[in-house]
């Protein structure tokens, strides 16, 4: 602390702020450290230390069910992983879910945002219809859609039959189960995309469209030459956030299919959970998590670059 700030503290003490706050009347730098400390401590305890610990544990054979003490095994967990067909299958499923649902949610979200941007007289039903899916827990969405796709009493099959199609036994076939999961994820996540894109839409000045009208540009051309380019920043942010969360997909397949039939709809996150919580194989679970962490950090690196170029 510098002399001036001690003097400041002394003079403000004369004016009599409550005694308990007086010790916090520090210089800017010191005060900043104090104010940031709680956040830093929490992040260190819940994120930084666990991540370091994760890398460390992945080099050990540590299974709580075997009762054996942790033993350093070097890269053995990783070489096991390379030969583990379930690892490859769940990773592939995760990548496939990301590749299908991220663009899917973007397209649906963009469509919803364009619809929601029409000049409605009453705004709140539109807002609510975008907020409710966002606020609905993922695990609830999984259960609700499991019921939607129920082979006998589900509303999806009911509609299919009414339209003259055959009903589908969604959860008995790997492909249909996978499709049902992807549809559910797209429904659940497109609303948040729509909210972000809608905010971007509302910042586009109307005068641009009016000028384009004068120039005789049709709506389709206006969309591709004005709307889309100006929406790019919001779309990039929404896309990257969605990609990061798609890699972590857990709740919806866990609730809808439990990963089945077999392991055909299981994701990497579900496999990490299974190895850790069910098999208590912390060494192998850690190695799996390191892989997911690496995947996710690649996306984050792209994200940070996108933000920097935006600024």
């Amino acid at each position: 602390m510098t002399t001036t700030s001690i003097l400041n503290a002394a003079t403000s003490a004369d004016r009599g702020p409550p005694a308990w706050t007086r010790w916090l009347d520090l210089g800017d730098r010191a005060l900043a450290v104090v104010l940031l400390a709680p956040a830093a401590i929490l992040l260190a305890l819940i994120i930084v230390y666990p991540v370091l610990r994760l890398g460390y544990t992945s080099f050990f054979s540590l299974s709580l069910t075997s009762g054996l003490p942790a033993e350093f095994v070097g890269l053995e967990n990783y070489s096991l992983m390379l030969e583990d067909p379930v690892f490859w299958e769940t990773t592939w499923n995760t990548v496939l879910i990301t590749l299908i649902t991220v663009p899917g949610a973007l397209l649906v979200g963009l469509a919803l945002a364009l619809l929601a941007n029409l000049p409605f007289g009453v705004q709140w039903p539109v807002r609510l219809s975008l907020l409710i899916p966002w606020a609905l827990p993922l695990s609830f969405a999984g259960l609700i859609f499991a019921w939607f796709f129920h082979s006998e009493y589900g509303v999806v099959n009911d509609v299919l039959i009414r339209l003259g199609f055959e009903s589908i036994i969604w959860f008995n076939s790997p492909n249909w189960a996978f499709a049902a999961i992807c549809l559910t994820i797209v429904w659940k996540t497109s609303s948040f995309m729509a909210l972000i894109i809608l905010a971007g839409l509302q910042t586009i000045p109307r005068s641009l469209y009016e000028a384009a009208d004068v120039d005789g540009a049709g709506r389709v051309r206006q969309f591709f030459e004005i709307t889309l380019p100006l929406l790019k920043p919001s779309i990039v942010v929404a896309l990257i956030f969605r990609t990061i969360t798609a890699l972590q997909t857990f709740d919806i397949p866990y609730m809808m299919t439990g990963g089945g039939p077999g392991t055909s709809t299981s994701t990497l996150a579900m496999y990490i959970h299974q190895n850790t919580v069910s098999f208590l194989d912390l060494g192998y679970g850690s190695a799996l998590a390191v892989v997911m962490f690496a995947l996710s950090m690649c996306v984050t690196a792209v994200y940070l670059r996108a933000i920097r170029t935006k600024e």
Partner: protein, 284 residues
């Protein structure tokens, strides 16, 4: 879109029937799943298995709600979810208000670096922390306590809430704080007596965000709590499933009970939530 009518497609796009159709599409898309669960929760077993299935229940009954509370301790699940969400919301707000004030107002040398770090942390996949957090909680004897969930949930919301609050705090003129400090407030006094009250809507929005995050979380709640008395709602709701039976009307009733608290929050504060979400989302 522009109010200026142009020939062809644009005339159709600004037309009233289209707007009506657009509203219908939005509302059906957003509300139908929740509505369908509500309908299911009011059906009797006989009506559920009738073919072809009925959409709107003919003889609505509340029996499923009674059963949802008697088959499983639904009130306990609700209580646990509520307490965990409330505690982590309070902790998130306290910690992020302090951090955001430092980032918005104090002359920091590494401000840009700290902000980038916060953004990076907000992208960490929670599931990768499952193993080490599990070990930490086991070592600290915190498994099967609220704390094992409150701490990670706080960290889950901390980055987004901090970034949101930074942008809200930056919108408050410094003169107001300076005036308070001349009147004898300390900096912290000015923060809590002037800045936070002026940013009340923003702080409140950050709080709702943190609450919804915690109310929704499933993976950690599933992994860290094996004690039935401490289960949160998303975890507890699975218990209705029998070995062979899946009592959908009862599960639906439990889901409706779980959706209502958050839905009420959203209905009351919808405008604020939208503006807060989009401010946070675009900022990163």
């Amino acid at each position: 879109m522009s109010a200026v009518a142009a020939p062809g497609l644009s005339g159709l796009l600004s037309g009233r029937p289209l707007r009506f159709l657009a509203g219908a599409v939005l509302i059906v898309n957003g509300m139908f799943p929740a509505l369908w669960i509500l309908f299911t929760s009011l059906k009797t077993e006989a009506e559920l298995t009738a073919k072809p299935i009925t959409w709107v229940p003919h003889a609505p009954t509340l029996a499923n709600y009674m059963q949802a509370f008697s088959d499983q301790p639904l009130h306990l699940f609700l209580f646990n979810s509520f307490m965990v969400a409330l505690l982590s919301t309070c902790l998130t707000l306290l910690v992020s208000v302090l951090a955001a004030y430092a980032l918005a107002r104090l002359d920091l040398r590494y401000r840009g670096l700290i902000l980038s770090l916060i953004i990076a942390v907000s992208t960490f996949p929670l599931v990768t922390l499952l193993v080490p957090l599990f070990e930490i909680m086991r070592t600290l004897n915190l498994l099967n306590t609220w704390v094992a969930l409150v701490l990670p949930y706080t960290v889950l919301s901390l980055p987004v809430c901090t970034l949101m609050l930074v942008s809200f705090f930056e919108g408050i003129p410094r003169d107001l704080e300076n005036a308070a400090m001349i009147d004898g407030c300390t900096r912290l006094g000015a923060l809590f007596k002037v800045v936070v009250p002026l940013c009340a809507p923003g702080v409140f929005t950050a709080g709702i965000l943190a609450f919804v995050n915690a109310w929704d979380e499933f993976l950690l709640a599933l992994s860290f709590n094996s004690n039935p008395a401490l289960r949160t709602l998303p975890v507890g709701i699975q218990l209705y499933q029998g070995e062979f039976a899946f009592p959908w009307p009862v599960i639906s009733a439990a889901l409706v009970v779980g959706i209502v608290p958050v839905a009420v929050l959203i209905v009351i504060f919808q405008e604020r939530v939208v503006s807060g979400l989009t401010a946070g989302g675009i900022k990163g």
